[in-house]
Point group: C2
DNA sequence: TATTATAGTTAGACCAATCTAACAAATATA
DNA sequence: TATATTTGTTAGATTGGTCTAACTATAATA
């Protein structure tokens, strides 16, 4: 029983309005505006998805994903983020370009395709926007993103993005030996220079506060409490 | 003015029934059965495509692609074959699996995507089935395929496929240093052993007739006359 | 609590892609 | 050439996804 692209998009929209936004359910109008369609259209689709047991829906009430609907939605998010990672890492797309193409690629159906892609990309944990990639088993962890300057001394973390998207900055990031999904550790903060000493691939380097403020990271230790 | 998936599929079907089959035009029933739809459905679509100046169509007559329709169709073939090559080379899909997935991937729309993929794959000339990949400029050469044993002594050619798809044979092909899109040269035929001496990556090796009969190749020299 | 504003629903229409069933033209053949 | 077969067309229906316009609940607030 495979779904249409449109049905998949509704499930994905509900996921991002609930689980990702930390709310229990989503309203019809809210879903409609997320998908750029009219509420009437959404209403029809919600009834259809409820019929298929993919969501729970009551007249004049809010909607939420059923377990099977959630599984499917997370799967689409997994595809979306893996394709984004592919486009970014392998085809040199920029961070802002990847989303649009991934919106199409996420609907490609094939039993082996996405796990093969995952393997080819060496099982990345984060997409180019710093969002976590759900596992093949359907586990989606929420990541609390912060910038490098906000990290606790001694903690290990993973770079998941940048705030400054200029070519000059990206080149500098590259020169320092950093890239998406790369691990690093905060060694110390040097108060006099207001700079941070970090360890990247066993080398220690110093970076300015300004640099640190533009590097988005996720810290496993800090995330333990924030899981869903 | 972008086309629907369905419209693209009709154009592709007409291309394969005309240019690729070397005929001037295609009938309604023929197109219908190529696409697994009823003639009535095809008839409607032909009128619609004619309206858009993508094909020439006359009542009770045969149809053929207009220049702009042909351009689009070749573009889809390019996408299809590049995606097949990607799946085969990078994601370890087998030759028989790639088609089905490429049928979906060929409809992904993005101005830069396909040229980036082409570059990432190092501008391959042939897909995993040994068919030529149209260039970015929209040039589609027809390739005349033969097996290695049929090639003329002294000629340089490119391996584009195998006849025998067993794991054992594919492993042997790999061991010999051959793979899709790899160049080779026929040095001699040794009558006594009925074996062929070939040059692969500057190394000379001997292969049996049985082996040669299972290697599909394309020869640039032999193809000069066969171009469209 | 009565009124207003917001959110959600229904009915009726449209378009794209498909179908079936009935028909018409072109072609093959007896 | 008359007839049969193949090929192509038309009309009318269906399904999925969308819309607008009119309507009804629910929630907010004066």
């Amino acid at each position: 029983m495979s779904l249409t692209y449109t049905e998949e998009n509704y499930l994905k929209a509900i996921l991002s309005l609930t689980l990702e936004a930390g709310k229990p359910d989503a309203g019809t109008n809210e879903i409609a505006s997320q998908l750029n369609v009219k509420p009437a259209t959404t209403n029809d689709m919600l009834k259809k998805l409820a019929e298929k047991k993919l969501i729970s829906y009551k007249r004049y009430g809010k909607s939420s994903l059923s377990p099977s609907g959630k599984k499917i939605a997370i799967d689409i998010v997994r595809k979306h983020r893996l394709w984004e990672t592919f486009l970014y890492k392998k085809l040199s797309f920029t961070w802002d370009e990847v989303h649009e193409v991934a919106e199409q690629l996420e609907h490609i159906q094939h039993s082996k395709l996405i796990d093969r892609l995952d393997e080819f990309l060496n099982f990345p944990q984060f997409d180019p926007h710093g969002d976590t990639i759900p596992t093949a088993a359907g586990v989606l962890k929420m990541s609390v993103k912060k910038t490098l300057d906000q990290e606790i001394i001694g903690h290990k973390c993973t770079m998941v993005g940048v705030k400054n998207n200029t070519a000059a900055f990206l080149q500098y990031v590259d020169k320092v030996g950093l890239s998406i999904n790369h691990n690093l550790k905060i060694i110390s903060h040097q108060a006099y220079y207001d700079s941070f000493e970090i360890e990247v691939t066993n080398k220690r380097i110093n970076v300015s506060r300004k640099f640190a403020e533009n590097i988005v990271i996720v810290c496993a230790a800090c995330n333990k409490k924030a899981d869903h």
